[in-house]
Every structure is written in C-alpha cells, then in structure tokens.
Subunit: 380 residues, 4 copies
C-alpha cells in the first residue's frame, strides 16, 4: 500500500513536468480546474479524510487550505466556489508542491506505523481518488491548450490516438439473465455495487468504435442541421452553442484539423472519433439507424471486443443499482449525489491512469459534456 501510495503521488507530479508555471493556474471554463488545484485537492483529501483522523497531533499545513481545496464535500465545510478556482494566484505552484511533500511524508509515516483496516481503506480510496484526478488533469490541460490560439504542445510524443481499420462487425448476444456489477473482491467504488441480475433482450453490438471518417460523413450529410436526429435538449444546445463538429476539430483552409496533446494535426479519418457529447453520439447513432448500447449490454459483451482507449457513451442513465448504499458521512458524497441527469460511460481512455479501470467501472458525465476522451460504440 505504501508503495502504491508513493507511486501514485509521484505520478501526479510526473504529469506536470511538461508544464510551465502559468499552465498550472488557469481555469478557462467552470468545469475545468487548474492543475495546481488538482495537485492540492488530492492532497487535501488525504489530509482531511486520513491524517486529521488517524495521525495523533497532526497539524494542518495551512489552516486556510481546506477552504481553498475542498471540492464539493458539504460535510467538510465551506469552500471556494468552483468557478473561482482559477482566480487564485496564491498559493503558488511551489507552495503547493511543498504542501504535497508535507502530506505525503506524514502519510507515509502513518502507514509505516499503523495497519488499521479503516485507515487502509481510506488510503486506498485516496489513491483511487488521485488517479481519477490524474485523468481530469490531462483532460483539463487539453482543454486549456486546445482553446489557446497558439495551440501549445503538451508532449509531442503523447499518444492518445488509436486507429480502427478493422472491419466493422456485429457481435450478437442472446437474451438471458446476466450478472452485473462488482463482486467486491478487490477495490471498487460504491456505485458498482450491489452485484445483481439483469434480464437483457437479444442485442447486437459493434466490435469496434466509430471512426473520424464515419463521423465526417454524418457532418457532410448535414447531420448537425437535421432536428429530427436530435433530442430536444440537444437541438437547443447545438443552436445556442453553435456546435458543428467534435470539440477539438476545426475546419481550416487546409481542411479539417484535430487538436491533441501532441499538438494540432491534420484530421486522420482512420482514427477513433473522440470528444463528442452524448447528444452527438446519439444523433449519430440515429442517423446510422442504430442506437447506443446500455451499460448492461456493454458489461455482458465486453469480453468479446477490445476496450480501454476511449470512455464509451451508453444509453443508460447514471442511477443507483438495486440495494445501493452510500457510505456514511462525507464519503457518501463521493458518488451518490450525482445520480441524476447524467449518462454512464464504460471503458477507459488513453488519459486513464494505469490500472484505474475495470469492466464494472461506471464513469458518468452530463450528456452535453465532451472534454473527456470518449468514443462511440453502436448497438442494435
């Protein structure tokens, strides 16, 4: 556990190596957080959920930091409004690295002296929490750089693209009763439980994700201008926001380009489509005459296709499983309170840290969100 903890802490800092100080600070839109906030918030998590509880005589690094770095835990008190995270130039990046060192050291010492079960459980959650923020950090950096007219490069060899040149085929699954959810051997989030049975009708699911080339046909056929393909809220959204293509695409005099963490490049039609909203994924599926799979269909068929390079939109709303139980206190706010108006995504992405996913993992976003690295798999 100590090793995993140290490794995770180090990896967050590793991800920041290509950044300039200025890049740690900005928040171009409310749902994007500054890099330095991610670094501090994951540290705060260990500080308030673990150290203040288990470490005798632990002294907060700075008594103002809980106010600055709490994200959304009502049970943990007031905090800076989310939209204001990018308004704070202090504490500086250097100061936050010192904060990290202080907390990492204190927690390492604690773990060397105690193996209390609840402690270990909380540290484990803290590690997984930090891994989630590692993915958010990359998503947010991509947003910052992809919206800067200079299109800075994060890392020229960062490879987030993947090709799908294999033939599209339909995998067929017969109707039946299936086991869904996590068996609770090993770590999982509360939202993956309780494991339970689900009855599914016969369905077919694609062996691969939709490509840029396929989505370009949708655009060229006027897909963004045909209201009957879209949900009513989706149609309002594309009108109001003037949405005409995936998030990081742009139409230039030299043709379509796509922004990656490795820079602005010519759009590759064989690459897997990414950075579309559920709304766009659903409209595209309608246009093809198909639909998106449910999260249950995905889970029962996932051993028949390869996945993990893109979070895949499902048709399923993010809802509690039968007999779902929230953790008591602040940790109960981790997942449960978001179970309305969001859609489940399954899989994982090129931004996902190492082993931080599994077949029962339920990621979730609002249907208009698209700054996560996502993809579209069709079903019928």
């Amino acid at each position: 556990m100590i090793q995993e903890f140290i490794k995770t802490r180090a990896y967050s800092e590793e991800l920041c190596k290509p950044l300039q100080t200025e890049d740690f600070v900005i928040q171009p839109v409310e749902f994007v957080s500054p890099t330095k906030w991610h670094l501090a918030h994951t540290t705060w998590f260990f500080e308030v959920f673990v150290l203040t509880k288990f470490k005798k005589g632990y002294k907060l690094y700075n008594k103002n930091f809980p106010y600055l770095f709490n994200s959304y835990y009502e049970a943990k008190g007031d905090r800076v409004m989310r939209a204001h995270r990018g308004n704070l130039s202090r504490p500086t990046v250097d100061e936050i690295f010192r904060y990290r060192t202080y907390v990492t050291k204190a927690l390492k010492e604690l773990l060397e002296t105690s193996e209390e079960k609840e402690l270990l459980k909380l540290v484990e959650i803290g590690i997984h929490h930090e891994k989630q923020h590692q993915e958010l950090l990359l998503m947010d950096i991509k947003y910052c750089f992809g919206h800067n007219p200079l299109y800075p490069i994060y890392k020229s060899d960062f490879d987030e693209k993947s090709s799908e040149d294999s033939q599209q085929r339909w995998l067929s699954i017969e109707e039946g009763l299936f086991e869904i959810g996590h068996q609770e051997k090993g770590f999982c989030y509360d939202n993956e439980t309780k494991a339970h049975k689900v009855f599914l009708q016969k369905f077919e699911i694609s062996n691969r994700l939709v490509t840029n080339g396929e989505f370009l046909e949708f655009i060229n056929d006027g897909g963004y201008k045909k209201p009957l393909l879209w949900h009513a809220e989706a149609w309002d959204w594309i009108q109001n926001e003037k949405i005409e293509h995936p998030l990081y695409w742009q139409k230039t005099k030299e043709g379509w380009k796509e922004f990656h963490l490795s820079g602005l490049e010519k759009l590759n039609q064989n690459h897997v489509l990414s950075h579309v909203s559920y709304f766009e994924a659903s409209a595209f599926a309608q246009w093809k005459g198909y639909r998106l799979p449910t999260e249950f269909e995905w889970e029962v068929s996932q051993d028949q296709f390869s996945w993990g390079n893109r979070w895949e939109w499902t048709e399923s709303a993010y809802l509690p499983y039968p007999n779902y139980e929230k953790a008591p206190g602040a940790l109960g706010e981790y997942n449960g309170k978001f179970m309305v108006n969001q859609k489940v995504l399954r899989g994982g992405s090129a931004f996902t840290s190492g082993d931080h996913t599994r077949k029962t993992y339920r990621n979730f976003f609002h249907p208009h969100m698209r700054w996560q690295q996502n993809g579209v798999r069709l079903a019928k």
Copy 2:
C-alpha cells in the same frame, strides 16, 4: 370515434367555463402556456396532422396560425418561441373559439365520410393529445392563480385533495422476471412499447402515498437545510430558487396554508402531499431511510394498491424501452426526443381527463418540475 372526438373537444371548452377572458392570456413562466394557446394548439394538431392531409380542398382557417400554434414539431416548421406565447393578445379568445368550431366541424364531416385506417389512428392520437392538454390546462391555470396575490378561485367545488388516513403498510414482492409495457391492444403511446421482460430483485412498496403531515415533519426537522439528503443539482436548485416547501404551500401568521383550484386553504395534514419536485421526493425518501420505487417496481405491484389521484415520482430515468421505435416524420417528435434528463411518473391525477391513463402509462418531467399534481410513494 366521432362521438369520442366531439366529447373531447367539448370537454376542453367545458374546462374554460369558470375563466374570465383575461385568464386565457397570461404565461407567468415559460413552462406554463396560456389557456387560449392550449385551445388553439390542440386544434392546430388536428388541422395539420389530419385535415390538411386527408380532407380534399381543406383551407386553413388562417395561414398564420400554424406559426402561432405549433408547439415543438421541428418537422412542421418555424413557430413562436415558447416563452413568447403569453405575449400575444391576438387572436382573441373569441377568435380561437371560432377556430375550434371551424376545425371541429371540418373534422366531423371528414369522419362521417371516411374510415381510412391511418386517418382514424391520427384522430385517435389527436384525441389523446387533447386530453393531455386538458391536464396541462388545469396545471397551468393553477399556476396562474396560485401565483396571483389575490388567489382567485377556479371552482369552489373542484376537489383535488385526497386523504390518506389508512395505516401505512409495506407490500412485498419477490424477485422474478416480469412483463413490462403495453401489449398494444387498444391505444397507447409509442413510449410504452415494446412490451418486454424485466428482472426485479425482491422489494417492498408502500400501500399509500406520503401525506402533508409526514412532509411537514421533514421540514420541521430541517430537511431543506441538510445537504447530505440531496442530490448535488438539487442542492444548487433549492439554494438558487430559495425552495423551502412544496410549490403551493405558504407559511402565514395563521400557520401553513395550501393553494388549490378551490382556493387558499388551511393545510390539511391528512391530505396527500403534492406539488413536490423529484428532488424533494428523493430527499424526503432519504430522510426516511427509504427510496422511491422504479417504474418497473411500480408497474408490477400497482394492482396491490390504489392509484390515480397523483402522478407518482419514480427513480427511473425516462428512457426508451428495448426495441422502441419512433413514428416516422413529425409524430416521431411526440415522445422520443424528450428521452434524456427526465424522470418517469406513473399513475394519474385529479387533473387527468377521464380514462386518459393506464398502468403502463409513462408520464415524464424534469426532476425540478413540480407544477404537475404529483405524489410520493416510498419503497425499500
């Protein structure tokens, strides 16, 4: 069919008898439509979906009316923005009644001369469509009157209250595979199909709805001030909108009052709670240590309790059933395009027209909406 058509048309007008001319005009909030708009829009529906298609030489009553009275059918062309329906003093109420007479007469003539199957199907939908608007008309009038400082009375003998003094009991249903959805004998909306099997875990469901008295305990216990009971979006909503009680309740010097179509009255604690959002229903259930039923649980157990006096919030998101198919063209916009970010309600209400509900009927609203006459049934 002719008889049902005539009866339905007449009933819409019957509902307007207690109103003054001014009451037909106003739209105090975007989601409420003016009474005269309901009267005209249901007429427009018959005009554009039926008469222009099936009646030879049919002449539109007024060529501007389709622009004025289309609701949300993109396939039927441009229209007045929803929020502007209450900005139009013309056509007058009298003119709209003349429009109704013109269309009713033309359709009656048509039905007397043709029994074409598609025609009858469209008229049937038009009748059900008008019944839905009859309920909306009452909801909207209640909103208009309930937000007027004079608290006008719609009808002093309109009875929308119902008592629940019976003892609360839990009905228990064993796990199993159940048939869900409409068998398509007789009329149903497309969203009730296809009938299909669902596997449910064992569950218990209350024999009755929550009462005002029970909800008052929630308020008195500070339920609206405890963030851990609420979804994150719900908490934002009650903060921003300063929500502290159900929609038509008010705290006065003489104690709690509740507004009904029969006027402003002392709150009766034995009456069934109504006009709460899904957010409030869910927070209340959490506070009690229970939850809301899913729409499937409701459907398979509904023969064991009485229902129909309140639309009952369920935990289920409004999503397509397996193998759901939208109707082609404009009618495909009736239901399918709303299948995101909404919650299913089951049952019916005191505002629901005659036979316009059934056990498979899926009503739906956004989770913060509460001007429909609704109720809360608990499950566990």
Copy 3:
C-alpha cells in the same frame, strides 16, 4: 381643476376604446406595462398620494391594490416586480374600471369640498402623471401590436406620421449666456428647475428632423456594420440584439415596411424617422459628419423651428440642474432617482396628451431605448 381632472380620467379610458380585453393584459417585455396596469396605477397614485391623506374616512377600494399597482415608490412599500405585471390576469379589466370609477368619484367629491393648496398641488401632479401614462399606454400598445405576427390595427385613422419635405437648413445661434429651465409660473416638474444661466458656444441646428429616406441611406451605406461610427456600448448592443434597422421597420420581399398604430404600411421615405435609440441617432449623426444638439442648444433655439411631433434625442445626460431640490418623501422619487445613465429628449410626440409638454420639458430614456416615438435633429 375638477374639470381638468375629470377630462384627464376620461381620456385615459377613451384611449382604450379600440382595444379588446386581451390587449389590456400582456407585457411582452419588461419595460412595457399592460394597459390595465396603467389604468390602475394612475388610479392608485390618486388613492395613496391624495385620498388616503386628505379624505376623512376614505376606505381603500381593495387593500391588495397598493401592492399590485405601486410602480417604483420605495417609500410606499413593497410591490409586484415590474417584470411580473403581465402575469396577473386578475383583477380583471372590468374590476379595474370599477376601481377607477370609485376613485374618480371620491376625488371629485373631495375637490368639491376642499381647496387646500397642498391638495390641489398633488392633484395637479396626479393629472400630469396620468397624462404621462397616457403616452406610455400608446407606446406600449404599439409595442404589443408591432410584435404580434398578425400586426393588429389600433385605429386605422390614428395619424402618427409627419412629413418633412421642406428643405433642410441650418439655423445659426451666436455664443452667449442664456436662461434655461422653468420660471415656475404654472406647472412644471421638479427636474425643470431651478432656472439658471448657461453659456453656449456658437452652434448651428437643423430646421427639421431627419427623414426615413435619409436614414435609409445610412443603412444602405452599411452604417450598422461600421464600428467606428458607434459608441462602444452601442456596438455591443447592436451585435447582441442583432439590430439592423429602426424598431418598427421590417425588410420584406416587397421592400421596407413600417408598423404604425394604423397598421403595417409601406415605408414612406418622406416621413420623419422615428423609433431609433440614442445610439442609432448618434451613429447616424457621426456618419453625416454632424452631432446631436445639447438640451440647452435645443431650448434656446426652439422658437426658430417647429417641434412637438417627435421627442428629440439630445446629447445631454439627464442630470440635476444647479440647485435642484427633490420633493420630500415619496414624491421625491418621481424624477430625481433616475438621474444617471439616461439621455434627455426634448419636444413632444404624436402620442403626447394635449398640452402635456412645453419648451422646458425634460423627457429621459436610457440610450438603447426606442419604443418612445422619437426623432433626430442634427446640429454642428
């Protein structure tokens, strides 16, 4: 005074003769008030400023009406928010006419028995106040009808147009000290005082107002697309609101049309331009190489040209004159609290009631407002 009072009250009702009940109710935009609100508010003014103060034993017609019909007098207590005036279907129009009759009768009785000076002064203000609302009533009706796709006619012989076919000439005024403001013989508003001296440089002012034809040249020359002609706030405004022509103009397949209270008509190029904002007036003047006059220039030269058919935008900000004194109490809110961010207009319009203007009269509106009947006179 009694006669003037009765005549004024009657004239307000006379103006409503061409209206349908529905027309009294709507408020399509916040700055437009429903006709029935104007009728009631002017009545409320007499009730609370005069009757409750001077008439022994006077009983309010309805104790809720002060809440409903106070406009902006903080000293007179809470009130319906301005934007919600059109949300109230009750009291009905008939009820408001009964309210008017009740108050008119009571005030007539009072005036027959008392000639107290303060009473007479307040009634005089009330009369002028009602005349102001008579103009607002016409402005608001024009807005309601001009934004209804059916373009209803208020009165087919209502003549609000005036021609300017005379040759444009410059009237020249030599520099000097001039007397400005009202001498306080006869009625005036507090904002016209104190009379005082102003030194003006030599200037020239046009003998006539700008015509539609002249403004059309501005449009055809791309005036709305040239940022350097506009104030910064004006430019933002025309971008955000997509302003491309005066308020009641529209470009149709058959050429430019203009809406009047007498209906939608072909634009007449010889008619005086109206319904432009200060922003548009100023941009037009810049384009011509001239400017707008100040209110002082207007006042000292007004005897050399004819005026009264259009409120004329001036370059002057609406500010207190030297030694201006607000009336004590609620009446002090009549004018003084609006003396920021508004522009002065001088003259009068075809909507202005009878003798309700004079050369020292200072009308005022925000620079983007244009639903008043206004015009543009150039200076240099």
Copy 4:
C-alpha cells in the same frame, strides 16, 4: 523623448518585481486584466501604431500577438474577448518580457534615426497610454490580492493611504464665466479639448475628502438600507450585489478591516475613504445633505485645495466638450467611443504614475465601478 520612453517601459517592469509568476496570469473578473496582458498590450500599442507604420522592414515579433493583445480597437481587427484574457497561460511571462525587449529595442532604434513629427506624437501617446496601464496594473493586482482568501501583500511599504485630519471647511466660489479644458500647450488627451467657457452658479466645495470615519457613520446609520438616498439603478445594484460597504472593507470579529497593497489592516478612521462607486458617493452626499461637485466646479476651484491622492467622483457625465474632434482612424477609438453612461473623475491617485495627471485630466468610469482608487469631495 527616448529617455522618457525608456523610463516608462522600465517602470512598468519595475512594478512587477514584487509579483510571482502566477500573479501575472489571472483575471478574476472581466474588468480586471492579467498583469501579463498589460505588459503585452502596451507593447502591442507601440508595435502596431508606430513600428509597423514608421519602421522600414519591421517584422512583427509574433503574428498571433495582435489578435491576443489588441484591447478594443475595432479598426485594428479581431481580438481575444475581454473576458478570456485570463484563460491564456501562453505566451508565458518570460516570453512577454522578451516581446517587450524586442519592441523597446526596435523603437529606440527608430527614435534614434527619425524625428518625424507624427512619429513623435504617436510615441508620446504610447507613453501616456502605458502610464495609464501602469495605474490599471496596480488596480488589478489589488483586486486579485484583495479577493484572495490569503490576502497576499504586494509590497509592505507601499503607501496608498492618506490622512485627512484637517478641519473640514467650505471654499466658496462666486458665479461667473470660467475657462475650462486644456490649452493644448504640452500633451493632453483629445477629451480635454476644446478649451471653452462655462458659466457656473455660485457654489461651495469642501477643502478635503471624506474620511473612513465619516463613511462609517453613514453605514452605522443604515445608509445602505435607505432607498430614498439612492438612485434607482444604484438601489438595484446594491440589492443584487449585496453591497454593504466599500470594496476593500470587511467586517470581522475584531472589527472593520481594510485591504491595501501593503496587506489587510485595521480600518483607520482618519484615512481618506476610497474604493466606493459613484452610486455610494452620491448616496453618502445625499445623506449628508450635500452633493458632489461637477467636473467644472472642480476644475475652477482646484487650486484652492490639495488633490492628487484620489480620483474624485464628480456629478458630471462623461461627454464631449464643445467642438470636440476625434482623431481619425483607430486612435479615434481611444476616448470618444466611451462617452456615454460614464461619470467623470478628476484628480489622480496614489496609483497614478509620476506626472500622469493634470488639472484638466478627465478620468471616467461607469457609476458602479469602484476598483480604482477614488475619493469623495462634497459640494453644495
């Protein structure tokens, strides 16, 4: 001129010495610009108004920078929206310093080889422009630090406070004709011309500015809760924004504190009041029974009192003087297009660079703005 140019450029950089890299980046609210933007924008001004015009073969430092660093010059093309200035982490602070060096060097070379009159005039404007931004830079840093929960210190010996312990006296000026405006010997902005005569009534003006202690009496007397003291727009503003005290005041358990560039300190009642809006200045004056001076009253009496440590709100609207002429082209956008809805301030402040003010200088802000270092002088 070369010397003044070099000195001005160096002083901008001098002001940044106490800052951390992170402090250069943020934009907590639309009207505040990032420090690095100020550094780059003032450089851009020299680049596009001078170098590209006068220096043969001049190569832009970076062809994207004009898009990034144009402020509001429509004639100079598209630009980053004002609200998005803080969303750009790149170019970095180091890069912008290199940009400054490049442009400073090029301009120095140019000045060493040419003494063309128009060139010198433009460089002179550029120098004054940069001095204006030096003041903005300090205002903006104060805003950033004053809204950071850690209340960072810019410079512990930065002295922006000034005491007014002298007795308040009224200076009396007899009525008469006065010369107003700049005589155009030496530099001035176009808005200070043409010099012209103004007739003023007799008035009295205070010998000193209002103190914190005096304003505290206003607060303690409920000044922020008395609607009759406020303009209508001011009252809406204090309600909506929950304004209850000057911008940098805060009420703590240990009493009132005030934030300065030297840190958060106990409020000193003898210090001059600062950081109030025109709305607050005007309400305070009303409460005292006095008023604010006009800009003309200020100008003609300014030699009888000391000034320069606070921009003083006047009652005057920011309007063109008689015979005002905008410069042709983009420079015409410098002042003229802001001449609506703003108020004139006279004087200067502790943030104003060296000699960058004079008795005819017209500063201007919207009436609700208060992040400039301002003050209140009373008149009657």
